[in-house]
């Protein structure tokens, strides 16, 4: 039996206020090392809330979260910051690059926070990643001066510079055009092929088929899971068909 890299046990998230309501309703799930796990579901299902809860970006009102056998729910802010700096990487829908740092600096600053590397090594790796992501020519530009695709590739580079244990991706293609979407998905798939564990939230079927495990969330509960073998371009059409059938069965 595979050991979970990241595990959520009976996670609850309840919003206070007039509307109230349980956004995550006793969710239990395991994320395995080397997987590209996808969370799908209709709008308002709690996908992003689950992602941010699992990554410690947002608090939970019940349950536990474990990472590499260590309970991380309830960690102090400083410990959580260390964990985010060394073990977690994030890619957001809106890229969320720091507006006054160049693409290169956005990547390097995250690298400086990582443990054990010398500044020179960080800078060298930042250059390598920029080259790998195909944005080396835009390295000295500010986020506002590059295209959405370039910004998202730089965001992916920033997310992986510290070789995180897991990469969280929240609708990474949501704000991209068709071509940039493909490029971004290729990047994530490529990273996963090198062994990078990824947890991605998406409602885009073409993005979801890149995953080898798809979880379906509705009304704060995981209703079902679908496993696929490793992704290859040749099987994309078949996978998309199967995924759609599965989703239809779940009233998607």
């Amino acid at each position: 039996m595979r050991e979970a890299l990241l595990a959520g046990k009976d996670i609850c998230k309840e919003f206070q206020g007039n509307t109230g309501g349980m956004v995550l309703d006793h969710v239990t799930l395991d994320i395995y090392e080397g997987d590209l796990t996808v969370i799908m579901g209709p709008s308002g299902a709690g996908k992003s809330t689950l992602l941010y809860a699992l990554s410690g970006m947002d608090g939970i009102t019940g349950g536990e979260i474990w990472y590499k056998g260590r309970k991380i729910s309830g960690l102090r802010e400083k410990q959580m910051s260390d964990l985010r700096a060394h073990e977690f990487g994030f890619v957001f829908q809106q890229t969320h690059l720091v507006s006054n740092l160049t693409l290169y600096e956005n990547i390097a600053v995250a690298g400086y926070l990582g443990a054990g590397w010398k500044a020179k090594e960080v800078e060298q790796r930042a250059d390598e990643l920029l080259f790998q992501m195909g944005v080396e020519k835009a390295k000295d530009r500010l986020p506002a001066e590059v295209s959405g695709g370039e910004a998202q590739r730089a965001a992916v580079a920033r997310a992986v510079i510290n070789r995180p244990g897991i990469l969280f991706a929240d609708e990474p293609t949501g704000a991209l055009n068709r071509q940039n979407t493909q490029e971004a998905l290729n990047l994530l798939t490529g990273l996963n092929e090198t062994g990078q564990s990824i947890l991605m939230v998406t409602h885009d079927v073409r993005a979801a088929i890149r995953g080898n495990r798809i979880l379906y969330l509705e009304d704060g509960k995981i209703l079902d899971a679908l496993d696929f073998p490793a992704y290859r371009d040749e099987v994309a059409k078949d996978r998309e068909l199967r995924l759609n059938e599965w989703l239809c069965a779940l009233s998607w």
Binding site: S48, Y52, M57, D58, E77, K78, S81, D82, L83, R84, A85, H86, F88, F90, F92, Q93, Q94, H96, L97, V98, S99, N100, L101, T102, E105, A108, V109, A110, Y112, L113, G114, A119, V122, L142, A144, E145, R158, N162, D170
Partner: protein, 784 residues
């Protein structure tokens, strides 16, 4: 109705900014109007009291007048004189709580039917009703004696009347308000006694003959005829020429001069406070402009949306401007309402220093004159700012292109791993420098003023030497004027038992007239010791030096000739230079011994010998020994003055007040700027936290930004202070006879305000940035 909804929403959204602007303008209006109220109320009160008490347009303090009625009749017979009034008094040194007075006291006979001095209630909360009965052995002392000597009701004051220990001792029965010389800035003090005690002292004086130490005298109040058009200076000269007044007058002062003496403290500190208020006002304007710009920037998308539903630019401008206008009006109105409490409190708190319990009277016209331009300035500032709302096109909002003008290519400050919070702080600063303008400008203005005051404080020194040097015509350690059997040789022998005398010279201060107007002459044996400001000293017997104020009053300068009169005649003297001596508001002239000999009679008792000690630290010990040995036979003084304590004490309070206001100001400016920046940078801060920055590291970086900007502003403010303090303070002090001010700040004087203001900005920014800890990272989930 729709405007009401917009205003309500605006206040909800920008309550921090509005509250900050309110706080700043409240401080500004309270400070400004309180300063004006104190200045106007105390000035008017002194004028009214001098009138009510019966102080003349000119009052001469005369002594040894054998027939006062004959003299006043002679004066009263002049066409230019309306009437005269006389107060009987005795001049005498005094001793209280073991301290000998530095200046003479005046025991004035209490005659409430003619001279209705106000007597304080014992708790100083007001005045006694009706006339008091002063019994033999009791006196009423001026209230400033409390701050000058620590005197209390029930203390004994002893007045040496004659040699061989003949003295008159009184018990302080209570305090009175002396509008003539009640301020702690004036060394000479009046005491109210009963007629019986006055007669008793006269009897003792008569019995003592040449051994008398006290002197019989009068205050002669002379009122100018209302129809006479001669100036007070011309009139003074006429009185000296046409009557025998100058033979008996020890000194003469006009009502204006007395007003000046009495209001020295208020005027000096009103000047300083006005400068402070101006600095605060400028800083407030910068903050206000920044607050409105920030609000417009933040509301731009909403305003674009409102334009699409039909709101006109004018209505949107109104929506932005009205809340600020309302807040400004409310702050100023509340500030004005707080003035009676602030000014009343200040009047009560300074009672023992100013000597006056002046009623607070709101100077309506003066306030309108000062507040109206202030309000117009602020309103103009708001109108100019909201004008840019007209530039917002709805389509830009819809397209999301508003405010996204292409950034110019420029060199960027590098980011390094070591000191990452600092480098990030610099980058954030460079990216949003406009947003830090209020911090930098406020820091510059606050440091400028703090440095300005610091230099004045440093000039005064812990012991007030700076001020004393301005008051004394020449330097000294100890001055001794033998008046009895003891000689200068005796004094010198005593001094040398403690330390060597390195140097000495003699100074006398007889009264002279210059072009007919009474002045005090500083007659010196070594004229090169005068504190000379320009020209050269009066080395020749026909040369004279004048203070800047005397030269200005007489309309003369170096090289001109003036006629100087003394007891033995008068003759022309050439003005060789300008020197500094702020005594009597600067009404002094300097002569060499040889120069004075041509017009005045030199007497043995007139000279005061000024000594320089080899070991200056022995000064107090030597003073005590001389007092113990010679008592009333030798008049002793040092480089000090009783009013100095009041000035030093007031300066300390002013410095404390200033730093307290600076702290509040920095707090408000930081809160405003930090609140706005944290709102604008919410996303960036979220990103930094998402990639692993701890909140404490981000707080440090945030605080460093304020440190860098306020540090730069502070250095600029300090530089301005170094350049402009001397001329500004000199211009202010010139009104009080001090014409030479040189701050000469030490490194500490320069660094302290910079460090204090920068440190405060950093501290408050650090505290404000505590919100970063509470900031939820889900802000990054937002889809817009």
């Amino acid at each position: 109705m729709e405007m009401k909804i917009l205003w309500k929403a605006y206040v909800r959204r920008h309550k921090g900014s509005l509250a900050g602007v309110f706080a700043l303008l409240f401080i500004v209006s309270v400070s400004l109007v309180t300063t004006l109220t104190i200045w106007e109320s105390s000035g008017r009160y002194v004028r009214e009291e001098l009138e009510r008490i019966g102080f003349g347009d000119l009052t001469a303090w005369a002594s040894q007048v054998y027939d006062i009625t004959q003299l006043t009749d002679e004066i009263g017979s002049l066409d230019t004189v309306e009437r005269t009034g006389v107060q009987k008094l005795i001049y005498s040194e005094y001793e209280i709580k073991g301290q000998k007075s530095d200046s003479e006291g005046q025991l004035v006979v209490y005659e409430p039917e003619d001279y209705a001095y106000r007597l304080f209630l014992d708790d100083l909360s007001g005045y006694q009703a009706g006339e008091a009965v002063i019994r033999s052995g009791e006196l009423y002392a001026p209230i400033s004696l409390r701050s000058m000597c620590g005197a209390e009701i029930g203390d004994e004051i002893s007045f040496p009347i004659a040699r061989n220990g003949v003295a008159q001792t009184f018990t302080i029965k209570g305090w009175f308000e002396d509008p003539i010389m009640g301020s702690s800035m004036i060394g000479m003090k009046s005491f109210l006694i009963c007629g019986g005690d006055h007669a008793e002292i006269l009897r003792k004086l008569s019995a003592a003959g040449i051994d008398g130490l006290a002197r019989d005298g009068f205050m002669i109040h002379i009122f100018k005829d209302r129809d006479s058009e001669v100036s007070i200076a011309q009139w003074n000269a006429m009185l000296n020429q046409e009557t025998r007044l100058s033979q008996f007058a020890e000194f003469t002062h006009s009502r204006n001069a007395i007003e000046g003496f009495m209001l020295t403290l208020q005027n000096v500190f009103t000047g300083f406070l006005s400068a402070f208020v101006a600095a605060l006002l400028l800083a407030s304007m910068v903050v206000l402009r920044y607050g409105i710009s920030g609000a417009i920037e933040r509301d731009t998308p909403d305003m674009g949306a409102l334009k699409t539903v039909g709101f006109t630019t004018g209505r949107l401008q109104k929506a932005q401007a009205v809340p600020y206008i309302f807040v400004i009006l409310a702050a100023v109105a509340l500030g004005v309402l707080a003035v009676p409490f602030a000014a009343g409190g200040a009047a009560l708190a300074t009672l023992t220093t100013t000597g006056l319990l002046f009623p607070v009277r709101f100077p309506l016209w003066l306030c309108l004159l000062s507040l109206l331009p202030l309000m117009l300035l602020l309103l103009g500032s708001i109108i100019l700012k909201v004008r840019k709302i007209g530039e917002i096109a709805p389509v830009e909002i819809i397209r999301g292109t508003i405010g996204k003008a292409s950034e110019k290519k420029r060199r960027r400050f590098p980011i390094r791993r070591t000191g990452l919070p600092f480098f990030l702080a610099v980058r954030q600063l460079a990216a949003g420098k406009r947003r830090y303008l209020s911090v930098g400008a406020s820091a510059a203005l606050l440091v400028f003023f703090a440095s300005f005051m610091g230099y004045v404080d440093s000039w005064l020194g812990a012991d007030g030497k700076g001020l004393m040097d301005a008051f004394n015509p020449a330097d000294l350690h100890i001055a001794a004027q033998p008046m009895g059997e003891a000689t200068s040789e005796d004094v010198e022998r005593t001094i040398m038992e403690y330390t060597d005398i390195t140097d000495s010279y003699m100074l006398a201060m007889p009264g002279v007239s210059v072009d007919g107007v009474d002045h005090t002459a500083n007659v010196i044996t070594e004229p090169e010791r005068f504190h000379l400001l320009s020209g050269r000293t009066c080395l020749e017997a026909d040369e004279i030096v004048l203070t800047e104020s005397v030269a200005a009053d007489l309309g003369v300068g170096s090289g001109d000739t003036v006629t100087v009169g003394g007891g033995a005649g008068s003759m022309p003297y050439r003005i060789s230079g300008i020197y500094q001596c702020a005594n009597d508001m600067g009404a002094n002239v300097g002569l060499s011994r040889e120069g004075y000999a041509k017009i005045g009679k030199e007497t043995a008792g007139m000279w005061c010998v000024h000594y320089f000690l080899a070991d200056a630290s022995k000064q107090q010990e030597v003073m005590r020994a001389l007092e113990d040995l010679y008592g009333g036979d030798v008049y002793l003084h040092e480089n000090s003055w009783p009013g100095l304590f009041g000035i030093l004490s007031a300066m300390k309070w002013l410095m404390l007040f200033m730093y307290a206001v600076v702290t509040v100001f920095v707090f408000v400016v930081t809160a405003l700027s930090a609140g706005r920046l944290l709102a604008v940078e919410q996303k960036d801060l979220g990103i930094y936290r998402a990639i692993g920055f701890s909140p404490d590291r981000l707080r440090l970086s945030f605080s460093l930004r304020f440190g860098i900007v306020s540090g730069a502003g502070s250095v600029l403010g300090s530089l301005l202070a170094v350049l402009f303090t001397d001329p500004l303070v000199a211009a202010l002090l010139r009104r009080f006879g001090i014409s030479d001010f040189s701050g000469d700040p030490s490194a500490l004087d320069i660094m302290l305000p910079i460090a204090a203001v920068t440190g405060l900005f950093m501290l408050f920014a650090w505290l404000d940035a505590g919100k970063i800890k509470k900031m939820r990272l889900t802000v990054l989930v937002a889809r817009r």
